[in-house]
Structure formats: structure tokens, C-alpha cells
Amino acid sequence: MRDTLLQGLLPPLTEAAPAADDPELAALAAAVKDAAARTLGRSLAIRHVDAGSCNGCELEIHALGNAFYDIERFGFRFVASPRHADVLLVTGPVTLNMREALRRTFDATPAPKWVVASGACAADGGAFAGSYAVAGGVAAVLPVDLVIPGCPPSPAALMRGLLALMG
């Protein structure tokens, strides 16, 4: 049984830490870096909010916890309550049916706080922009500090974006 427990996790599968090489991300990160670093050090509590995504983004956010990405080694932690969170990681085009829930989640998060819009839908509504049922991107509802592009953003892209936020 011991073999089963360890095999597959050894030798380590963990990817090397990525460089925040995307100029767009770097520029955005620079804007929040000082404040974030001063306040957070190297620990970031993340509350994910699905504001109407197709669930593709959630699959890749989940992958951040697997042995390959192991995001906790960088001090990132997904928390169950917005009251414990430093960052709201928001996915989806923000449906009108979720708009109030998203706002209330933001209001329940203590300052200082950052909002990361993750994925093409969260950026500007993506494939669903213009629909009667969507607000059209997280920025239509909340102040956004960082946008991570992709449909969906790969775990590597998510990791780069979050690391850039932490400076």
C-alpha cells in the first residue's frame, strides 16, 4: 500500500516557478505591487467566485492544486469565505442573475482587497458579450486590478498572473 501511496507523486512532478514575463501582466502588477507586497508579504488568500462561467475556468483553477502546479508552495490558498480573502478571483461574464451575489461577496471581503478577472468572459463578456443576460465583464460591476486572459486561462497562465500580483 505504501508503494501505491507514494508512486506517482515521486519523483516530484512539480513545475518550476514561471517568470512573470507577460508585459501586460507586468504592467498591471506594477500598479498594485507595492501595496500588495507591503500588506500581504508572501501569503495570499483567494476566494473564487463563479459569476456565470461555462465552468471551463473552474476546471483550470482546480488544476492549480494538483501535483504539477501545487500553488500553495507560493503562499496562495483558496479560502471558503470572502471574509478570509485578500483576493477575489472572478470568472464568467457576470450574469445579471449573479451580479448582486458578486457585489455582496465583494462587500463581505475586508479591505485591502484585490479583484482578479480571470478568463475571456471575465475580461469583457467574451463569447457572451452583448447578451441581455450579462453585465459584460467583471469591470462592469467591480473595480478590477488584474485581468488574466485565456479561454480558459491555463493553470500556467493563472499561476503567472497570481505571482505577478504578489510581485
Partner: protein, 485 residues
């Protein structure tokens, strides 16, 4: 597959009565311009689409005869503004009152966007209390509201309220060309993007009387099985994690990641989004794709059996899954539940076999079923399906035909109608497409298998402890986005 189109009040009532009597099962029910439509599956597996004209804005409710139609009917009424005469549940479903309009697909009426009140069903008794959960949940999952009535630790009644991720996909589809339609179909439920893309493509090809080249069918088959593998690995791990056995999640997470990486190498996208298109596939298998997929299959064959033994030999885990969240076979049958949920409750159904479309018409595979209907049975069906998918992928790679992967579809080839039933990892995805004369989409209806599974979760959780709800919910793994559209 036999397909029939019926029309008229007698056929409409007859369909409702036969579904209620168990002689046929509901596939879907949806609105269209001036009419309601339903698709049912006959006992011999054939599909029939029945039309019912909407008279002065109203039609006779099917849910009044056959309860599984209720939420589909409520959704259709929200979108079109129709009235379902005699319906057992008149509450709005998708429309929470937060849109700037009512009836987005019918006669639009402005609305102030003020949320509608929603009266949850009640449960009364000494000590019975309510627990509201959601729409924002504690984990990394989709939003939805669960209203529990509990007596002590036991669930007396669960009622789901969904619709939070409603994006207006049906309205975005209207007037779109097929390329845009495929983009939207692939984003109805991201975890099933291949299944939806295949269903949409097959419906479009049927409407145009066209067919994809043979190689495309086989590539679609490989992608569909890889999607099933990725989701089953993820679900088996996540269910065990909800029973506090994180080790299975860690190991299954590795297999899931390997699957997505092989997909990226072979088809250019980890979830294989936008690869299947009407007329075939957007890309051919990459040169190093076959080796990547074969390596995945080899690793899964070596690792997965050990994980299955670990699951089977861990008493503390079995203690949580065996006998938990039992879905009775007769209920599963009444709702026509497909996929893992149906097959774990003794339903021997699989669109790949029962509506044999290429490449499955040229392949043999087992359709595993279980009788227990509990969390354990739903895990086991997934475990056995992983084995079948690995075999299927190997066979398809070995027999992959040469040739083009895409055939140009005639622009403006409409008007026409086509439909398709395609087996995703969660169950059968139904697509019905009506094209206008200029070839654009007049109406596209996509029915997620979860429509017929979500209501069954309410039944399966009854009498279980509240703390086992995440475990039961994960073992069903219904799609929120898939039913919210």
C-alpha cells in the same frame, strides 16, 4: 436511429401520457416560434419530435402529465412568455427578475430588473429548520442555491434553485452563422465542450444533409473519450476528497492533468475547445499527438488499477460511499436519466451504442451498469468507463482512417432541421437545430443531461445527513451552466 416528426394536439397528449406510463422517456422539451416541441425516446430507442401549436400564448402542460418535464417547461415559458395550461409549478425558473426584459425569445417586454420573490416548497414538522446555501459556494464550483429543510442532521427536503449562470445562449444563437453557433455550443458547459461541439456539428450536418469525412468522425471519437477520461479522473478524485480522502484526489489529479496535456499536444487545446466544427474538425491530429495519447493510455493502465484497489480496500472511504445518496432505479427510469447517474441505478442506456453514430457504429464496447444507485455505484460506473475509454482510444488510434478532416458545408444551405444525441461524460447531450433559408440559425436548442439528473439529486439526498450533501452532489456532478444556458 429512427426519427419521426409528429404534430398536433392528439400527438402532444399522447406523448405526455405514454411518457407518464413509462412507455417512452422524455429527451427534451423546448419552445420555438409559435409552438412548443418535445423529443421523446421510444422503448426501441427511436426518437420522435412532437410539435404543439401555441394558441393565444398558451399550450397544454406536459409537466401536468409527466413531472420530469417541469423545469424544461418552466424555462421555455420564461424565454417565450408562453403559458403552460394546468402546469403543476407556475414559478419562473431561469428568469429571476433581474433581466431588463421578460420573454427574451418571445414578445419582449421591458422589466425594471428588480428581483422576483421566490417561494420555496415547505417542509413542516417538529424541529424542522431551513439551511440556505448559495448561490456563492465555499469551493471552486459553479453557483446555485440549495434550500435544505433539515430535522436534526437529516435532510427532510432539498430544493434546488438554479439559473444563476444564465447567459442568454439561446438568444445569442438566433441569427448566428454556424461558426458562431459552434463557438457558443462549445461553451454551454466547458467540461463537456467536445460533446456539445459534436452534438451541434452533427445536428448542423443533419440539417444540411451533409456528412463529415471519415477521419473527422474518428478524431471526434478520440476527443470525446479523452474528455470522458479527464472528467472521470477528476470526478473520482473529487468524490473521494469529499469523503476526506485527499490521496485519491492527488493521484487522480495527476491522471487528469496528463490527459489534458496529451489533448494539448494532440489537438492544441487542453479542453479541446473549438476543435470539433460543423463539417469535421478544425485541426488534424498533431504529428506527435499519437505518441502523446499512447503514453497517456500506458500510464493510466499502469497507475489507475492501483488507485481502484486503494479505493476498494479503504474501509473508511467505503463507509462514506456505500449506501449513501441512493437513487432508486424506478425514479431514474421515470426521469429517463442518462449517463453515470442513470447507469448506476440500473439504466442500460448509452447514446454511443443506442444511437450508434460514427465512429461508435464500428466499435464494440461495454456499457457498465450498477444496481445499487449509491455514491459507490456512481464511482464504480466511472471506474469501469475509464477502462472502456482507454480500450476505445487505443482501437481508434490503431484504426484511424486517412484523408481530410473537414468538408466545406454549403453556405446558405437552409432551411432545414436536424438533431443529434451524443454521449458526453455526464450523459446524452441533445441538440436540435433549425436553420433559416440563408443558412443562419433560426433556433438552436441544446439540452444538457443534467436537466434530468438535478431533480433526482433532490430525491437521493432525502434522509441523508446534511454533511453528506457535498459527497452526493459531487457523485452526481450536475452541470449548472449546462442547464442555465
Amino acid at each position: 436511429m429512427t426519427s419521426r416528426l409528429l404534430s398536433g394536439e392528439a400527438d402532444w397528449f399522447d406523448a405526455g401520457r405514454r411518457m407518464a406510463a413509462g412507455e417512452a422517456s422524455l429527451v427534451s422539451l423546448w419552445g420555438d416560434e409559435g409552438r412548443m416541441r418535445l423529443c421523446l425516446r421510444e422503448a426501441d430507442g427511436g426518437l420522435a419530435v412532437v410539435d404543439m401549436a401555441v394558441d393565444r400564448g398558451a399550450f397544454p402542460s406536459i409537466a401536468a402529465l409527466h413531472a420530469p418535464a417541469s423545469r424544461l417547461e418552466r424555462a421555455a415559458c420564461d424565454l417565450y412568455g408562453f403559458l403552460a395550461l394546468g402546469a403543476p409549478d407556475g414559478r419562473r425558473w431561469l428568469d429571476h427578475g433581474r433581466w431588463p426584459l421578460r420573454h427574451p425569445l418571445g414578445r419582449r417586454a421591458p422589466h425594471d430588473g428588480a428581483a422576483d420573490p421566490y417561494a420555496f416548497l415547505e417542509a413542516r414538522g417538529p424541529g424542522v429548520h431551513q439551511i440556505p446555501v448559495g448561490p456563492v459556494h465555499a469551493g471552486i464550483i459553479e453557483p446555485g442555491h440549495f434550500r435544505f429543510h433539515a430535522g436534526g442532521e437529516a435532510v427532510v427536503r432539498l430544493e434546488e434553485r438554479l439559473g444563476y449562470t444564465h447567459k442568454g445562449i439561446d438568444a445569442l444563437m438566433r441569427g448566428a452563422n454556424l461558426a458562431r453557433g459552434a463557438e457558443l455550443a462549445g461553451r454551454v458547459s466547458g467540461d463537456s465542450t467536445v460533446a456539445y461541439a459534436v452534438a451541434f456539428a452533427r445536428a448542423a450536418e443533419a440539417a444540411l444533409g451533409a456528412d463529415a469525412p471519415p477521419r473527422a468522425h474518428w478524431l471526434r471519437g478520440i476527443m470525446a473519450e479523452m474528455e470522458r477520461l479527464a472528467n472521470h479522473f477528476g470526478d473520482i478524485g473529487a468524490i473521494c476528497n469529499d469523503a476526506a480522502f485527499a490521496l485519491m484526489l492527488a493521484h487522480c489529479g495527476i491522471l487528469r492533468e496528463r490527459t489534458l496535456r496529451a489533448a494539448k499536444t494532440a489537438f492544441g487545446h487542453r479542453l479541446m475547445m473549438d476543435v470539433v466544427v460543423p463539417g469535421g474538425a478544425a485541426v488534424d491530429l498533431a504529428p506527435d499527438g499519437i505518441a502523446a495519447i499512447r503514453a497517456l493510455v500506458a500510464e493510466a493502465r499502469s497507475t489507475f488499477p492501483k488507485l481502484v484497489r486503494l479505493y476498494d480496500n479503504t474501509a473508511s472511504l467505503q463507509e462514506r460511499t456505500v449506501g449513501t445518496g441512493v437513487l432508486a432505479a424506478d425514479l431514474a427510469s421515470r426521469f429517463g436519466a442518462g449517463g453515470v447517474v442513470g447507469r448506476a441505478s440500473a439504466r442500460d442506456v448509452d447514446a454511443r451504442r443506442d444511437h450508434a453514430y460514427p465512429p461508435y457504429d464500428a466499435l464494440t464496447f461495454a456499457v457498465p451498469t450498477r444496481k445499487a444507485g449509491d455514491v459507490d455505484a456512481r464511482i464504480w460506473v466511472r471506474i469501469l468507463e475509464v477502462g472502456e475509454s482507454l480500450d476505445l482510444i487505443e482501437t481508434m488510434l490503431a484504426r484511424l482512417p486517412d484523408g481530410p478532416v473537414r468538408r466545406a458545408l454549403a453556405p446558405g444551405g437552409g432551411p432545414g432541421e436536424g438533431w443529434a444525441l451524443v454521449e458526453g461524460f455526464r450523459g446524452d447531450v441533445f441538440a436540435h437545430l433549425r436553420l433559416a433559408a440563408d443558412g443562419t440559425i433560426a433556433r438552436c436548442h441544446l439540452r444538457d443531461p443534467s436537466w434530468l439528473q438535478w431533480p433526482l439529486l433532490e430525491a437521493a439526498i432525502e434522509g441523508n445527513i446534511v454533511a453528506d450533501f457535498p459527497l452526493c452532489n459531487k457523485s452526481f456532478n450536475g452541470s449548472y451552466s449546462g442547464v442555465d444556458l
